[in-house]
């Protein structure tokens, strides 16, 4: 928490006069509120963006009425609708697990935000194993999905949950291996130091390092991360045309909204990881553009990746379960191993 504390200290010097416990508590609470606010706002914005992008790709307008300009207030209206809807829990459901599942999914997503480096100083927790931490907490979500699918006592939900479990656990491996390729070179797992190691101009970014090896690693990471967050073409756990709604078939109202929120937060997190590890985090591509603050670069790069995720979603069909596993175990995993090997050789020579 040191860099974060310093960051707040610079902004508000009077904090240093406070007793340590108070200062730490206040800074911690404020940061959490900031992040929670960001997640909520991002989800609203991303839902609006997704609807507009899909609409324009499909020759239609999308929301145009609510709020005036291009229906910007539509997601707010949607959120209110979800809040006031009846919360239905199936009679035969396991009530405790059913209620717990969306909480776990959302918590896992939110916990990932703890180590995202927004700029040189503003990083909520600069762990020396930041990358490992983020990978671990984001795999937490699968427990939530499994719980939700099981507790619903619905066969389609169960199918969705089983698919989610097998898919997300399998794709952890190429994700981790692709990141490992970079970590080997950078020699650190701290999110902050990973970015600092890339300072310079665009060619110093990890994605152009060891060209084209890390670029391929980036591609592998991006594809596997799509599967991590259940986006098309890997949206099997909730594949509507097969499993009705997958693991969230029985969910309604705010509990459903939390699954949804978790999904969008996860989209941002995987994009943010890619930004941090491969695309130079908060750094500007050229020295001349350094006057633009770091957080803008960081959010901008992450949003570009989010946009690509949406673009793919509205273009591609869905894979089948066996093809999904084939892609993971026979394509992505061997290739990431090969990249690790090649980068290792390169370093040794």
């Amino acid at each position: 928490m040191e860099p974060l504390f310093q960051f707040f200290n610079n902004l508000f010097p009077f904090i240093s006069d406070w007793p340590e416990w108070l200062a730490h508590t206040v800074v911690g609470v404020v940061t959490v509120l900031l992040l929670f606010g960001f997640v909520a706002l991002f989800a609203l914005f991303a839902i609006w963006l997704e609807r507009k992008i899909s609409a324009h790709m499909q020759d239609r307008l999308g929301p145009m009425e609510v709020g005036g300009w291009h229906g910007w207030a539509q997601p707010i209206a949607d959120a209110i609708k979800l809040l006031v809807k009846e919360d239905i829990i199936p009679a035969m459901a396991d009530r405790t697990l059913f209620k717990l599942a969306p909480v776990i999914v959302f918590t896992a997503a939110l916990a990932g935000f703890a180590v995202l480096p927004w700029s040189q100083d503003f990083i909520p927790a600069d762990l020396n194993v930041g990358l490992l931490y983020i990978l671990s907490v984001s795999s937490f979500a699968v427990i939530g999905l499994l719980m939700g699918g099981w507790a619903s006592n619905n066969k389609w939900s169960l199918y969705g949950a089983m698919r989610a479990a097998s898919q997300m656990i399998s794709y952890e491996i190429p994700v981790a291996l692709a990141l490992l390729a970079v970590i080997m070179n950078a020699g650190t797992m701290s999110m902050r130091h990973l970015v600092i190691a890339q300072s310079g101009n665009i060619l110093d970014w990890n994605v152009f390092n060891f060209f084209p090896l890390t670029a391929v690693a980036f591609f592998i990471y991006f594809v596997a991360s799509l599967a991590e967050v259940n986006r098309t073409p890997f949206d099997l756990p909730e594949g509507e045309s097969e499993l009705v709604g997958g693991f969230h078939t029985e969910y309604s109202s705010m509990r459903f909204a939390f699954f949804f929120l978790g999904e969008y937060a996860n989209m941002y997190i995987v994009s943010a990881i890619a930004t941090t590890v491969f695309l130079g985090g908060w750094l500007a591509p050229f020295e001349a553009l350094n006057f633009i603050p770091g957080p803008i670069w960081f959010v901008g790069k992450a949003m570009t990746l989010v946009f690509i995720q949406m673009w793919l979603r509205w273009t591609l069909p869905r894979l089948r379960v066996d093809q999904l596993m084939y892609t993971c175990w026979k394509v992505l995993t061997p290739f990431s191993f090969a990249i690790i090997l090649l980068i290792g050789l390169w370093k040794v020579l």
């Binding site: 499909q58 459901a93 006592n153 591609l316 089948r320 379960v321």
Partner: protein, 387 residues
């Protein structure tokens, strides 16, 4: 009542000698996004693999055949609209031609041409829906809206000529309900020009998409002999490589005058008769339909196509089996008349019903996602399955 699906205490669980597994029975539908209506399929599954799939029909049964026995010959026509509600024109045509043949009625040339044009337009509209919903079944959402954009233009043309957008009641005994309004012919030709390049667009986004091919090629193969023995017809049979199209093999109306090809599946991406072939036959048939429309409009005679037959007709006693090629296959009307004002019996041989019956034969051993692809490729309309 037991509150939860988990036993009260884990100590109640009997641990078997060896782990026993059993198949799971799932009811897919009638409220399922990809059963194309109110079809229920009882699945017995072993994990993702399907051991048996049994279609349960009847959720949309509307007693068409019984209705037909109690209303006049003309009044049956609007009911035929509702059989296959996305290709109403083709349904009208089969029933009406059946009656005309029983009565030995001559239909004027302009009406015959208009009938062919609207039938083929409706075939395109129907195949478009088949394409779009098939994409939806595979998980691609965008093509669905592309095809609806283009289908909309066909519906506009139909609205202009018949006043309705879905259930047209347009083809009447002795002619058509209304003559084509002024400028309609040009608008249809304009549509043909607009539509042909769009087919390339569908191919780019869906047909030749790698994932789409992976999902559909070699899946749900219907061998030709299986298809024939189950009575499969239309694009679903032609996908298996059987050259059988009633427009060529048992011509009705004026189809024998036009030059068009019968599209058959060639196994381009996988095996002959897989879901991709059935899908492809529909895409290519739209091209052929445009050809027929162009030829029919080129020689569209002047005159008035409106029918002049009185409302209360009496069909001479006898029976007749009239079969036509609808977008789904061989639609047969077996009509029995006792010479009165009302039909004695109208039996419908529904192509979608026969096509669906093949599901049981090809479903075992495929995955759940494949079953969705197979049902989609058979292009069933539950209004016609249940009648």
């Amino acid at each position: 009542m037991k509150k939860s699906n988990i036993p009260e205490s884990q100590f109640e669980l009997q641990v078997p000698e060896s782990l026993k597994t059993e198949e799971m029975t799932i009811s897919m539908g009638p409220q399922h996004p990809s059963t194309h209506g109110v079809l229920q399929v009882i699945l017995k599954t072993d994990g993702e693999i399907i051991n048996s799939a049994k279609p349960q029909i009847g959720y949309l049964h509307r007693c068409f055949e019984k209705h037909a026995e109690n209303i006049t010959w003309h009044q049956v026509i609007p009911f035929t609209d509702r059989l296959d509600y996305i290709a109403s024109m083709n349904n009208n045509l089969g029933y009406v031609i059946g009656i005309e043949r029983m009565m030995n009625l001559e239909v004027n040339e302009r009406a015959e041409h208009l009938r062919v044009v609207v039938s083929e337009l409706n075939r395109i509209a129907s195949h478009l829906i088949a394409l779009g919903t098939y994409g939806l079944d595979i998980g691609a959402f965008t093509p669905f809206l592309y095809v609806f954009r283009d289908r909309e233009k066909i519906l506009d043309l139909f609205e202009e000529i018949s006043g309705a957008r879905l259930l047209y009641n347009y083809i009447w005994v002795g002619g058509v309900a209304y003559d084509a309004p002024e400028g309609w012919r040009e608008k249809v030709l304009e549509f043909c020009d607009y539509f042909e390049p769009k087919i390339k667009e569908y191919n780019d986004i869906l047909t030749y998409n790698k994932i789409f091919i992976e999902r559909t090629a070699n899946v749900g193969v219907i061998p030709a002999e299986v298809g024939i023995s189950y009575g499969v017809s239309g694009p679903s049979l032609r996908g298996s490589g059987v050259n059988f199209d009633l427009r060529k093999d048992d011509p009705y109306s004026i189809y024998d005058r036009f030059d068009f090809n019968v599209v058959v599946g060639k196994g381009e991406m996988g095996t002959v008769g897989d879901t991709w072939d059935r899908y492809w036959v529909r895409v290519d048939e739209m091209v052929e339909s445009v050809k027929i429309i162009r030829q029919a409009l080129e020689n569209l005679p002047e005159g008035d196509a409106k029918e002049t037959v009185p409302r209360n007709i009496k069909v001479p006693a006898g029976e007749y089996y009239m079969r036509t090629e609808t977008p789904r296959g061989e639609l047969g009307f077996y009509i029995i008349s006792d010479g009165s004002k009302m039909p004695n019996r109208v039996k419908v041989r529904s192509p979608a019903f026969c096509n669906l019956s093949v599901l049981q034969a090809i479903a075992p051993g495929v995955m759940i996602a494949d079953l969705v692809a197979i049902i989609g490729s058979l292009d069933i309309v539950l209004g016609e399955v249940d009648r």
